[in-house]
Structures are given as C-alpha cells and as structure tokens.
Amino acid sequence: MAKIIVITSGKGGVGKTTTSAAFGTGLALKGHKTVLIDFDVGLRNLDLIMGCERRVVYDFINVIQGEATVQQALIKDKRVENLFILAASQTRDKDALNQEGVGRVLEQLAKDFEYIICDSPAGIEKGAHLAMYYADEAMVVTNPEVSSVRDSDRVLGILASKTKRAEENKEPIKERLILSRYSPDRVARGEMLSVEDVQEILSIDLLGVIPESQAVLNASNSGEPVILHEDSEAGQAYRDLVDRYLGVDVPHRFVDPKKPGFFSRLFGGN
C-alpha cells in the first residue's frame, strides 16, 4: 500500500520543493520506489530542482485531463534507481486541477509506488488544498521565523479539518515538522527561534533540522537534489532525516553552534 506524503508549509520560499526533492531522492536511494508530484500548476519548480526540465513532455494536468497516460508522463530520474517525477503544467492555471482527477491519478500511482510525495504550492488555495487532501502523512516545512511559524500552524489546522481523512473521520494525518534554514549560531545569540521554541509552539513531532547552507543554492543551480551533495551539511541533514523517517534512531546534528576556537571564545566575534 503506497503512502501519500504531502510536503507543505503555507508560506512560500521556506524549502518545500528542496525538501520534496531531497526526501524523495533519499527514499529512492534506500530502495523504495518513489514518485514526486509537483502540485504547483502554473509555477512549476520541482522539475528544475530535479534537473529534468528539458525532459517534460506530458505533465500532471495532461494525465488528469486524459490527454496522456501516467506512464507517458512519468519522468524516470537518470541518477537514482526507483525515482520518478510527475511535473506540473507551466501553461495552465490551478483550476485545471480537480479533486476527482487528482484522486484518480493518485490511485493509479499507488498500485506501482511505495511512496507518493506531493510537493504543495505555497498558500492555502486550491493547489495546496488538493496536494494535502488525499495525504496519509504531512511534512510541515518551517523556518525559525514568525511568519513561517504562524503559517505552519494555520496549515496544521487545515490538515486536521479539510482533508479526506478528516472528512471521513479516519485516523488523522500524521504530521511532522521539518525545521529548515536553521542557524545554530544565531540561535545561540538569541537572534533566532530555537528548535525547542518552534516545537513548543506547533507541538508536533520533529523529523529533522536542516541547517542554512550554501549547498542548497548550489544544488538548485545545477539541478541536483541537495541530498546527493554528501559533503554538505544540508545533504547530510536530509540523509539523517530519511533514516529517521524509516525508523532508524539518528541523533539530530547541526543544532548546536560550532565550537569556537580559543581566540574567538575569548573575544566574542563570529
């Protein structure tokens, strides 16, 4: 039985697509057959982050409208076995998505895949709503910053009331927090909300902390999910996160400031 996981946040620019790409690639690296779906119709991004933008022939909307089969629209990743991408349409608008059509495509994908990762658009309108509607689990990507935390709390409210599981009174969607763009040094200086602060406010399980990292921009420049950049902190944090998701007990790294040297400890300075 496939698991449908939505990567959501409410606020834009917090790292949903980066996380979708990294998490999905990580699951595939572990041998799980995984498909990534971009729900951001009209403003597609996932294909760029995954580096397959020139290979998109048919997209999610084509499949929903019956203009192509799922098999025709799925793009097989060239680097990682077991990984597929279903791109969003760049030309249509979000009204081309409909609940029944999305349900039909997900049902079909569920026969072939172990994990279906739905990359939600920002906001709480149609695209975001449909990305979460059929989900079994949700990863709420949050930055340690007031507007992102408030939006995440709003999204948690919607996950608990406006989804299929909520409407059918089934077991609620399993919600997990991914705190990204985290800067332990700034937290230590009292300039940034800490992991504990955000967890206390949102009160959901923490799956992973992704440190602010140059590697994320570098990876997106070259169209590679950052998890493939094994030497980067962000890449390693995503690897830990995937292990943790699959049930391995991995401690959280990158949450404490780097140990300062003798001189910087003596004179402050950072």
Partner: protein, 92 residues
Amino acid sequence: MGLFDYFRKPEKSSANLAKERLQVIVAHQRRDNADGPDYLPQLQRELLYVIRKYVEVDDDAVNVQLEKDGNVEVLELNVTLPDRKPEALDAD
C-alpha cells in the same frame, strides 16, 4: 559569548520576543479555527436552559458543533437525555 559580552547590559533577545508574539497569535488562531462563530457558547447555554424546563439533564448534555462542507454550514446539535428511571415508568 566572549569576554567583552559580560560588560554589556543584558537585554531581552529578539528570539524571545518572537516566541512570545507567536504564542499569542497561535492561541488566537486556534480558538478561531476550533470554535467557529463566537455565539456558539451562548447558544449552547440557552439551549440547555430551555431543555431543562422539560427534562433534567447534565451540564454536558447539549453538544453544539458547526461544520463547514464546501459552501454549506451545518449546525449539528446533540442532546443526550438521561436514562429513564424505573419509578418514572411505574408512574405512567
């Protein structure tokens, strides 16, 4: 924290301020989401009052819930009546 930092005045960190503001915002947000319109508690109290004119019920016997389904709002009202006592049956 360096040597010179010890001579600075301690001040409230901006992270603490952020946390306090968020706690207030989130509490409001959740209340708005959970309870629907603010007349519901009052409605619930008055219903209880009316029902008690006829039947003696517990404080939690009346349950009011507002659900949204697309454009339609459904007000769900549940009243739990107490078990009929044997004496009451005899009296009939």
